[in-house]
Symmetry: C2
Subunit: 439 residues, 2 copies
């Protein structure tokens, strides 16, 4: 006998976790598809050489890889993100795919991190990108997708915060700090988390700038006001900086398209403190905050990059995209009580009183299923109490109960499980009644 257990840092998804997860993933897919983003998938296992093609030797991710030699002696590893596989995929297939190319990818990734509360070694990523175009229209569209995505997932109160790396670079150039860009942006990225003073201290040690210079960077990042006010101010301040003016123009176009295309006001906010820590990004950057749960951080983030697949091909593949933080979002929905508590996928449970009438139970269930109503039939003719217990445990909403008397009269007892109400309904009226009760 082997003790049944999972590996440390891994977890099972029982129905209570998997039902909302699947629903969210399906909603996300629908939104992506509605914009013409197409699904792709790539192998979980790749050559280590491919996965590490653009990773520096000492990088953290290097130590986190699930890496081994396969039976053929090849050095292989489980993918740790979906970006490297996209780069490899795009380099290999861009000719037959045709550019521009919009793709989404929901896939599992693995990282051998030290497990922490709420962090797992196996998790799902949910990425969407448009590659092969420099057009700002693609950047605007990614923000529109984020808006539809978070709306479709059931949120109304959220904010997509956008910035453009060109604006930040312009400021750093004005201060003579171009060379420290990476270190400064990595520190600035922590502003919301660790606060002004700590960021200034870190910039001094990590990027070798004066406290005055650090304060100026932060002052720009903290510029407040309406989108129009912030953008106008930038244009005045950086009148002769082409990069900043391009960044401002792109942000302004995004703001305009949001208005023209009818997105509710307030969803898009220019926020100069958003910078994303990665060197990778070169233009627009996005983060998305739930206004009722800002402490969980951004639930959908991304940006524009100049060159996706430089490690694999000479073909320049610029692009723009974002990633939905599925697990973070589910955790937020759980605390906000936005997740229905159920472990069944079918709201109706047909009780089984008489095993010899199983065909009739399934006939009724079939009628309901055909009307689009998920319907379980209890699989054994057990005691009523046990069937009620099952219904309660599963979170079923409605029970249909019929025995000899009901079959003789052509009726079904319909019971709303949260109450003690029970009503006999003639067979022909069952579907309509159940539909009304579930509405």
């Amino acid at each position: 006998m082997v003790e049944p257990r999972v590996l440390k840092g891994f977890r099972d998804y029982p129905p209570a976790l998997m039902i909302p997860r699947e629903r969210l993933m399906e909603t996300a897919r629908q939104v992506f598809r509605s914009y013409g983003f197409a699904p792709i998938d790539t192998p979980a296992l790749e050559l280590t050489e491919v996965l590490l093609a653009k990773v520096e030797d000492g990088a953290e991710i290097n130590k986190q890889l699930y890496r081994f030699k396969d039976a053929g002696g090849r050095d292989v590893a489980l993918r740790f993100d979906l970006t490297v596989p996209l780069a490899r995929f795009a380099a290999q297939h861009y000719i037959e795919l045709g550019l521009p190319f919009r793709r989404y990818h929901l896939g599992t990734v693995w990282r051998g991190e030290t497990p922490q509360a709420g962090r797992f070694r196996e998790f799902m990523q949910c990425d969407f990108d448009t590659i092969g175009t420099l057009s700002n229209a693609a950047d605007v569209e990614i923000a529109l997708v984020i808006n539809d995505l978070i709306t479709a997932l059931g949120f109304d109160r959220f904010e997509i915060r956008v910035n453009n790396r060109l604006v930040l670079n312009g400021l750093l150039a004005q201060l003579g700090l171009e060379e420290n860009t990476s270190a400064l942006l990595r520190s600035l990225d922590k502003l919301a988390k660790i606060g002004r003073d700590k960021v200034i201290a870190e910039m001094q040690t990590e990027a070798a700038v004066t406290s005055d210079q650090a304060a100026q960077v932060i002052a720009l990042a903290e510029t407040t006001g309406s989108n129009a006010v912030i953008l106008d101010q930038l244009n005045r301040r950086f009148e002769d900086n082409e990069g900043v003016r391009k960044g401002v123009k792109n942000l302004r176009e995004m703001v305009d398209v949001f208005r023209t295309s009818g997105v509710p006001d307030g969803r898009l906010r220019v926020d100069l403190s958003i910078c994303r820590g990665l060197d990778y990004y070169t233009g627009t950057v996005y983060e998305t905050f739930l206004l009722d749960k800002p402490d969980i951080g951004s639930v959908c983030s991304g940006g524009r990059y100049d060159n996706l697949a430089g490690s694999f091909t000479r073909q320049a593949l610029p692009g723009v995209g974002a990633s939905l933080g599925l697990d973070r979002l589910i955790a937020a929905m759980e605390t906000l009580e936005l997740l229905p508590k159920t472990t069944t996928t079918a709201p109706v449970l047909v009780f089984q009183l008489d095993a010899s009438r199983y065909g009739d139970y399934q006939r009724m269930a079939r009628t309901l299923r055909t009307a689009g109503i998920g319907t379980e039939v209890y699989p054994e003719a057990k005691k009523l109490g046990q069937q009620f217990q099952y219904a309660e445990r599963r979170g079923s909403k409605i029970a249909l109960i019929a025995g000899g008397n009901e079959f003789a009269q052509g009726t079904w007892n319909i019971k709303i499980l949260a109450t003690t109400e029970q009503t006999p309904v003639s067979e022909a009226d069952v579907v309509a009644t159940v539909q009304k009760l579930l509405a």
Copy 2:
């Protein structure tokens, strides 16, 4: 520069493969849910000890494992099926899950087989099972799910062939061949594939039976006639064999429930040659054949087992389930030309003629998306020819085209891409017109 490539035996899924795949998976999920089957997921990586808990030392699967030591020195492997994970999962969680428990699981599995045409080392399994009940109602329901599943996937002409191991065991007992059951059923399982003579020869060498005994086994398996005729004949022949009578009773109940619950005639066929090779099955066994593509073999197979998780728990967990052959089915649909040729998920493409009107293009797209119509906006204001080429490549159905004149008049040109037809339509009528054209 690293050469972009995938491992031997692995493959990418570009949109042309992934779009139908995702659609099939979603359809399957919907059918499972409509019966109250609930989704679960388990880790891709497990302790090797767990995955091999019920595998014999010399077994083929042992050699096919992707197995390695993780950073913590643990002996781990990628799952090679979803049955062992279900057994482990059920043993670990059956108390909080409550029994009976219906689950489905769509998941990737890995086997380091020698790659052959159409066989991959990474593939998707799609399993559904009811565990924790001995009731034949669960067996009947699995067949009903198969029927709804194959129907929902777009097939009308198919047959679920069922048998019961109790019937086969009864025959073997009558012939005094109980001890050779495993070897005989493994040979019998090949009847459709290699034919009568070869099966007889194999039974003689593998199960040490006479050619006469082998012929008797096959004669029973080849019994033909209506379901009722076959079942009546069995009852007469095995009058005093309790096992056979129970098997017949269960099959008869399935036939009856199919009729009572209104499944079209001919979908369920008692076929005594169906036996499934695995020792694992103890009762009902299922296979499913597409009548227009019988050569690809069964597209959905399974059966009843006595003890799912004996390697992990003393708790008896009987169950019944089946597995949908997703890849096989997609291949069949491809040859039968049942798969739409498209690499976009959105039937409508809004052309971009004037970059400064991008907000208006997205506004129209938004209106269509809100009406449930997937709509792409071409991401750059490129030449018309290039946008048409893109539409053709993607398999878009309808183009919406508007420039200065159209905006001045408040109209959109609607073009059906398969034809040369192009009609100007006033903005307010676009949704209705597109809906009509797509219907």
